[in-house]
Symmetry: C2
Subunit: 133 residues, 2 copies
DNA sequence: GAAATCATGCAAATTACGAAACAAGCTGAT
DNA sequence: ATCAGCTTGTTTCGTAATTTGCATGATTTC
């Protein structure tokens, strides 16, 4: 019952980028140093964030990473789900057919409600307010 | 980002016990059959629930498992934490010292808030209302 | 072509899952 | 009282999946 370290690393990276503005291209190397992230591990995370459309990468000399959208339009949920996949408190939340009891289970509803609340909270927090506030 | 199957199994077991009342002693065998839980797995779960003080077990012939408290005084949180241990959305929620940024991290606060909300929700749902409602 | 950088693949470590075998306690009949 | 049978508690093991981290390769700019 925890987000993975990858997801937390990803959040730190996006925080770092948000704090430095979209104009500057930051090298993965520098991000890793400043945010205490294993370098070769961060590379893969950046890659996934790129595929998810959160960041934009530039290869070659003078390359680096930038946000592909304004920080105000990137939510915690975007980053976490880009790395860990859809977050589900219980396996039945997204697909009720995995359990023989499925829809007839009262607990199922509780998990779904809690899940929705969590999604709303994470979806409502954008990185602009995280950095400035 | 998911509770373990053990925790869900535990919830099913307690649901089953709550539905049948505290007066009846149910054999682990029967619970496993009706709730589609691997028998040898459920034994370990029952044991942990017993240690946590949620259920009371009786060995020997005519033995079985009963709730040690009225269903109205057992919350989802009790059962889940008895099995999975304290639930934490991120490792820094309970112990901020695991991260070099610790208290100075804005994201940390968000996780703590979300964590509190989740705890409250799970703590407020007792098995009496789950069964009857 | 060389340097800097992202991208991909591979291995160790940890954890979750399930099953089996064994030990211990209770009941009730003898 | 004693013994046999039933039921939970504990321990151990093996498998599978996930997580984490590292090393190497591919790509672009200068
Ligand atoms: S028993 Fe209920 S809560 Fe558990 S997986 Fe099935 S539907 Fe979901
Ligand atoms: S970076 Fe912030 S959110 Fe992540 S572990 Fe550290 S304190 Fe917690």
């Amino acid at each position: 019952m925890q987000i993975t370290k990858q997801a937390d690393y990803a959040v730190r990276a996006v925080m770092y980028l948000s704090a430095h503005g979209r104009r500057h291209r930051m090298a993965t190397n520098k991000i890793a140093m400043d945010q205490k992230i294993p370098l070769s591990f961060l590379a893969k995370i950046i890659s996934q964030l790129s595929i998810a459309g959160v960041v934009h990468t530039m290869r070659g000399a003078k390359g680096g990473v930038t946000l592909s959208r304004p920080a105000s339009e990137i939510s915690l949920l975007d980053v976490v789900e880009a790395i860990d996949g859809p977050i589900t408190l219980n396996e039945c939340v997204l697909d009720a057919s995995v359990c023989p009891f499925g829809e007839n289970c009262k607990v199922h509803e509780v998990w779904c409600e809690a899940h929705t609340d969590l999604m709303n909270k994470l979806g409502a927090t954008d990185f602009q307010t995280l950095v400035s506030g």
